[in-house]
């Protein structure tokens, strides 16, 4: 309700004049008041107040005519208004302002009707198509111009620039209030309007420039900084470095080194490769001979694993410790082969080499 706070102050000024109008048209508006006794929402009591004058303004405008026809129009207006207020949009009171102001200023009745009609139509469209604050900005503009066609194109084109302007206007009002949270309100806005709008809503912090350009720049910078943080966590040794350029340097070096490692490993695999078919096929076909085969790799492999530790992260190593009871953490580093554990068992307890063989072959089958 905070955005309404500023508006509420102003609404009180208008309400006095509305009361005057209400008193004047009291006899005619009595029926409408009874009709409106049901729908007006509990939260926005002053919207009910403001709905009154709008209907009564219509009533005033149409009073010289028959009492029946104007009843239908204001009834429709009333439906629109109540429909809108039921959605609990605080900015629905805004349409009432310009119409009252126009009336109070003594503008021509026809232009008053047209503005009211425009707001009636625009007010319905705006909560559906764009955000509520956009409607507020839209309504405030035609107050000066007083011409209806300008309002509708505004509601139908929610561009980023207009949103930034809307936010700057709102911020200028709210600068007196010190409670400007940054991203949490943006997150709330996102969750509310995320389905409707693809734009990220950013709020200016207190004491910062509210120019639309600087807002966009700040949003962009924050996006970039967030992603840089993720990257810094990923690349080892980057969290100490400050400054985007140096961090980028580190990232480039890291990517390059990883690519070189992949090349080196592929060369190694290519050298090893001719034996792949031979070994795996022999595993499947051979019977007892494979027992020795499986034990040999299990003995050779533990010597190899310490090399791998240099390549990976230490964190995964520590996490893997929780997996069951393992003696040497080096073996259970995240390697893609479960024969590590199997080989460890076979080393520690030589009771069932046959089991290890069957597991080995089954594991190979799983791989392939």
């Amino acid at each position: 309700m905070k955005p309404i706070g500023g508006i509420e102050v102003r609404s009180m000024n208008y309400s006095h004049k509305n009361v005057d109008i209400g008193v004047q048209a009291y006899q005619l508006g009595e029926e409408f008041q009874m009709l409106m006794a049901g729908p007006p929402p509990t939260g926005n009591s002053f919207t009910a107040l403001l709905e009154l004058p709008a209907n009564q303004a219509m009533e005033l405008l149409h009073s010289p005519g028959a009492a029946d026809s104007p009843t239908e129009l204001p009834l429709k207006r009333h439906h629109n208004m109540s429909h809108r207020s039921a959605r609990n949009h605080p900015h629905d009171c805004a349409p009432a302002f310009p119409s009252n102001a126009a009336l109070n200023e003594g503008a021509t009745k026809y232009s008053g009707i047209s503005t009211a009609a425009a707001f009636g139509g625009g007010g319905q469209d705006s909560p559906e198509s764009s955000s509520s604050a956009n409607a507020m900005k839209v309504k405030s503009e035609p107050m000066d111009s007083g011409s209806s066609p300008n309002s509708l194109p505004h509601t139908s084109n929610p561009t980023v620039a207009s949103k930034n302007e809307k936010h700057t206007k709102r911020k200028e009002r709210e600068k007196g209030k010190a409670t400007n949270k940054k991203n949490k309100t943006a997150a709330n806005d996102n969750s509310k309007e995320g389905e409707r709008l693809p734009y990220v809503h950013v709020r200016a912090r207190r004491g910062q420039a509210t120019n639309s350009h600087s807002l966009a720049e700040r949003a962009r910078r924050e996006k970039i900084n967030a992603r840089m943080k993720l990257l810094q966590e990923l690349v080892p040794g980057c969290s100490k470095i400050s400054g985007t350029a140096l961090v980028l340097d580190e990232i480039i070096n890291h990517v390059h080194s990883l690519q070189r490692k992949v090349e080196f490993l592929s060369m190694r695999l290519a050298a090893v490769n001719p034996r792949i078919d031979f070994n795996l096929d022999s595993l499947f076909t051979a019977g007892n001979g494979s027992v020795l085969e499986s034990n040999f790799p299990s003995m050779v492999m533990p010597l190899m694993w310490p090399d791998i530790q240099m390549l990976g992260n230490e964190q995964e190593c520590q996490q893997q410790w929780h997996l069951g009871s393992v003696n040497q953490p080096v073996w259970t580093r995240q390697e893609g082969h479960q024969n590590l554990i199997i080989s460890e068992n076979s080393l520690l307890s030589y009771d069932s080499p046959a089991n290890s063989v069957s597991l080995h072959s089954s594991q190979q089958k799983m791989e392939i």
Binding site: R275, I276, L323, G324
Partner: protein, 210 residues
């Protein structure tokens, strides 16, 4: 025994989850997705999937082509590894799509024109290019320069804005680390295997001889 393997699998699957739940409360939606991706690349299950696919693909490529030199074979291995990595990414990231599409383009070129073109393209991919060496030694803004270098390193991200590029780089680095781990494990396993097999052959020969 089989239950042990299944337990191992389950625990591997269970590992990434508590991390995911903890992070979801803190991060916003976008960063949440990025972290999920990172966790995915670090998980053991993903590495196992990658290793199995890699072995299959390597056998396949081994049967298809058997050139003499190691360099061409290594390049083929590397390309298969990258292709499998891109497939493992499930095409959600830009670099994975770029890798797959570039392979297709290369194959088309091979069919139509001489093989010299593919070689230069592959060489260009593997060789790092120094950004400072060019026609003009103009000092671009440092950030812009590094952005360009990074864009060239990550496949398919040459003309990308900085925030998107950083996102792609995050995913790419995580995927590369997984690739390195899997390939290292595979290479060691195979060399160990070969050593074991050769030892076995030697010992069996000695037995037969004596």
């Amino acid at each position: 025994m089989a239950s042990m393997i299944s337990d191992f699998d389950e625990s591997a699957h269970r590992l990434p989850e508590p991390k995911r739940k903890k992070l979801r409360k803190i991060e916003t939606v976008n960063q949440d997705q990025a972290k999920n991706n990172q966790i995915r690349w670090r998980s053991l299950a993903e590495q196992q999937i990658y290793s199995s696919k890699l072995v299959e693909a390597l056998r396949h490529s081994r049967r298809e082509t058997s050139p003499a030199t190691i360099s061409t074979r290594s390049r083929a291995v590397r390309e298969t590894a990258d292709k499998i990595l891109a497939i493992a990414a499930k095409g959600r990231t830009r670099w994975s799509r770029a890798i797959l599409s570039s392979r297709l383009k290369q194959r088309l070129k091979n069919h139509k024109k001489a093989k010299a073109k593919s070689k230069t393209a592959a060489a260009g991919y593997s060789r790092p290019t120094n950004p400072a060496i060019g026609v003009q030694k103009k000092k671009l803004p440092a950030l812009r320069q590094r952005t360009r270098v990074l864009g060239r390193l990550v496949p398919g991200c040459r003309k990308l804005s900085l925030p998107n590029l950083l996102e792609e780089a995050t995913d790419y680095i995580a995927a590369l680390e997984m690739q390195v781990r899997a390939m290292a494990a595979l290479a060691d396993f195979l060399t160990g295997f070969n050593a074991g097999a050769s030892n076995l052959a030697e010992s069996s020969n000695r037995l037969e001889m004596s």
